[in-house]
């Protein structure tokens, strides 16, 4: 994807020649849920942009923590607590390396991207925004990267500016630069669109924003299951990811922030764990990362997410890109053979997401009918109502693929969508 496509033609050719193939059938055996049958039909799970399935090693790591060394972290002097603390902090280092952050304390564990954006909106936003200031977001943000900014803008009387998008689902970069001014205090952008699959040119957009001394937050929820992310190379100031979108547990994710920014920000939540000392006159706060991790964290979740990172490290991103690009191309071509079907989102740089509408049939009816064929897809506005409004549709049906999906599953989807026509004829 991005990384591959930005490489020189010669390098790409060399890589293609030596490209490792993904052994999908073997990979699938790592995911117990994919072995299921529903109503006698194999489960075809194509809702990976909503959440991904978990490999056995992730399930086992959570189980091992609860069965073998469950204890609260950072406080106990006993061995069990030390073991849990070590595992939790080891997971932080795994995440640090996964996004190539400079230091482990730049990784804050929290619930996921939603909480990460809220943290930055409330901690950074409320202390840096004053009336008349502006926050720039894009037309293809998930509601989780819209609503926190609306709440903070309302409280501070700052204004939200929106980078427009083309009919193909690409951000208009010329307009982006024009939106940034002395009033802009932050840019918040989605790396990969959950409803259209568009991969945004984040590195280029960060450079533009930094040219005006404006920091950038990136919502990486849909990027990390599909591509290697290097926060130092992107040079973004904040990067958020959700564990459950990248084969880890629910309820755990990270906010990466440059230490300089995080150090200058006030705490987001108060409580245990995040203090240096508390007295009724004055409380002083712990250094990073504890300052932003009030209360007992999701220890099992962090350990499970660390296991998901280990699992991904055992794979080749080049092989994943080749496989997912093939699935997307095949799915797009196959779906478009269905009369009255239109694929929405045709950006040049796309992750493996196929959003579509069918003339005369609402997306929910498509979802119900294909479900009877054992095919799980998402239907609705995908928490991106402004994208639906922009494209003039109430809802779409969305098939989103992970590396464990197959061409046969695409065929099953296409057969199931044909049933929609049969029911509605």
């Amino acid at each position: 994807m991005t990384m591959v496509r930005q490489a020189s033609a010669a390098a790409t050719a060399a890589r293609t020649a030596a490209q490792p193939m993904l052994d999908v059938e073997r990979v699938r055996t790592d995911f117990p849920l994919l072995m299921q049958h529903r109503d006698g039909k194999p489960l075809v799970y194509l809702d990976n942009a909503a959440t991904t399935q978990k490999p056995q090693v992730v399930v086992d790591s959570v189980k091992q923590y609860y069965e073998g060394y469950n204890a609260n972290i950072h406080r106990g002097v006993y061995k069990l607590s030390q073991q849990a603390t070590d595992a939790y902090e080891a997971a932080r280092v795994k995440l640090q390396r996964f996004v190539n952050a400079a230091q482990p304390h730049e990784i804050i564990f929290l619930r996921g991207v939603t909480e990460a954006v809220n943290l930055v909106a409330h901690s950074f936003g409320r202390t840096s925004l004053v009336a008349g200031d502006e926050v720039v977001i894009s037309a293809m943000e998930h509601h989780s990267n819209i609503v926190p900014w609306q709440i903070v803008c309302e409280a501070t009387r700052a204004r939200l500016r929106i980078v427009p998008m083309t009919d193909e689902g690409e951000l208009e970069l010329d307009e982006f630069e024009g939106l940034i001014s002395a009033k802009t205090k932050l840019v918040a952008l989605v790396h990969v669109s959950n409803s259209l699959g568009t991969i945004n040119p984040i590195k280029e957009m960060v450079a533009i924003a930094h040219g005006h001394n404006v920091p950038v937050l990136v919502d990486g929820a849909q990027a990390t299951p599909h591509m290697a992310v290097d926060v130092q190379d992107l040079d973004c100031d904040f990067y958020a990811l959700s564990g459950h979108k990248m084969f880890g547990p629910t309820g755990i994710g990270i906010l990466y922030g440059k230490a300089e920014l995080l150090n200058a920000m006030p705490p987001y939540q108060g409580g245990g764990e995040m203090i240096r000392s508390v007295c009724f006159d004055k409380t002083t706060y712990a250094p990073l990362p504890a300052k932003f991790e009030a209360g007992t964290p999701n220890i099992a979740g962090a350990i499970g997410l660390g296991a998901a990172v280990d699992y991904l490290n055992g794979m080749s991103w080049d092989a994943i890109h080749a496989h997912e690009d093939d699935l997307l191309r095949y799915a797009t071509e196959s779906l478009e053979t269905i009369p009255g079907l239109h694929v929405l989102g045709t950006a040049k740089e796309k992750a493996s997401v196929a959003s579509f509408v069918l003339d005369g049939v609402h997306a929910h009816d498509i979802g119900t009918i294909v479900d009877k064929e054992g095919v799980a897809i998402r239907t609705g506005h995908h928490c991106t109502q402004p994208v639906m409004e922009r494209l003039g549709v109430p809802a779409t049906a969305r098939a989103s693929f992970a590396f464990y999906n197959t061409r046969e599953e695409v065929d099953a989807l296409v057969r199931a969508v044909h049933r929609v026509h049969e029911v509605f004829s």
């Binding site: 049939v361 929910h364 119900t368 609705g380 506005h381 109430p394």
Partner: protein, 150 residues
């Protein structure tokens, strides 16, 4: 396909394709908006009540086949009924679709509304069928809040 045929009966598909009373009533005595925020279905309902009789009723909006057919069937059923009769139909309809897979349907009361009985086997679609009824209830009770099935 048996289950799907239960859900998408011919009468449902027909009302979806050609919804009855799909109109705005400019001088309606009661109006209400209804939305299913998670689906994006929305409906605006216009009712003209004289005395306690529903003289005219119309709807506009967009949504899935189930919500559109339900609105069409509802409007053609409640026209000419008293508001009390409409409310008691709402209760019977709600019991039929939201009462679980084995809920008995009171076919005598429900008449052609029973065409939507198949919805009870599709829990994710119950709110689609119920939306027009919640909206009618909001219109008749004069609630200012938009109706929602969430």
């Amino acid at each position: 396909m048996a289950d799907l045929k239960d859900l998408y009966q011919q009468i449902v598909l027909d009302h979806n394709r050609a919804p009855r009373n799909f109109k705005k009533i400019p001088n309606a005595s009661h109006t209400a908006e209804g939305t299913n925020p998670l689906c994006g279905d929305d409906i605006t309902l216009y009712v003209t009540v004289e005395g306690n009789v529903i003289k005219d009723v119309g709807f506009q909006g967009k949504g899935c086949a189930i919500s559109q057919a339900s609105a069409s069937l509802m409007t053609s059923t409640v026209k000419g009924k008293t508001t009390e009769e409409a409310e008691s139909l709402f209760r019977a309809f709600h019991d039929m679709v939201a009462g679980g897979p084995d809920a008995p349907a009171d076919d005598k009361t429900l008449g052609k509304l029973a065409a939507l009985a198949g919805v009870k086997r599709f829990p994710a679609r119950v709110k689609c069928a119920n939306l027009p009824w919640h909206t009618l209830h909001a219109a008749l009770t004069g609630s200012d809040e938009p109706a929602s099935t969430e």
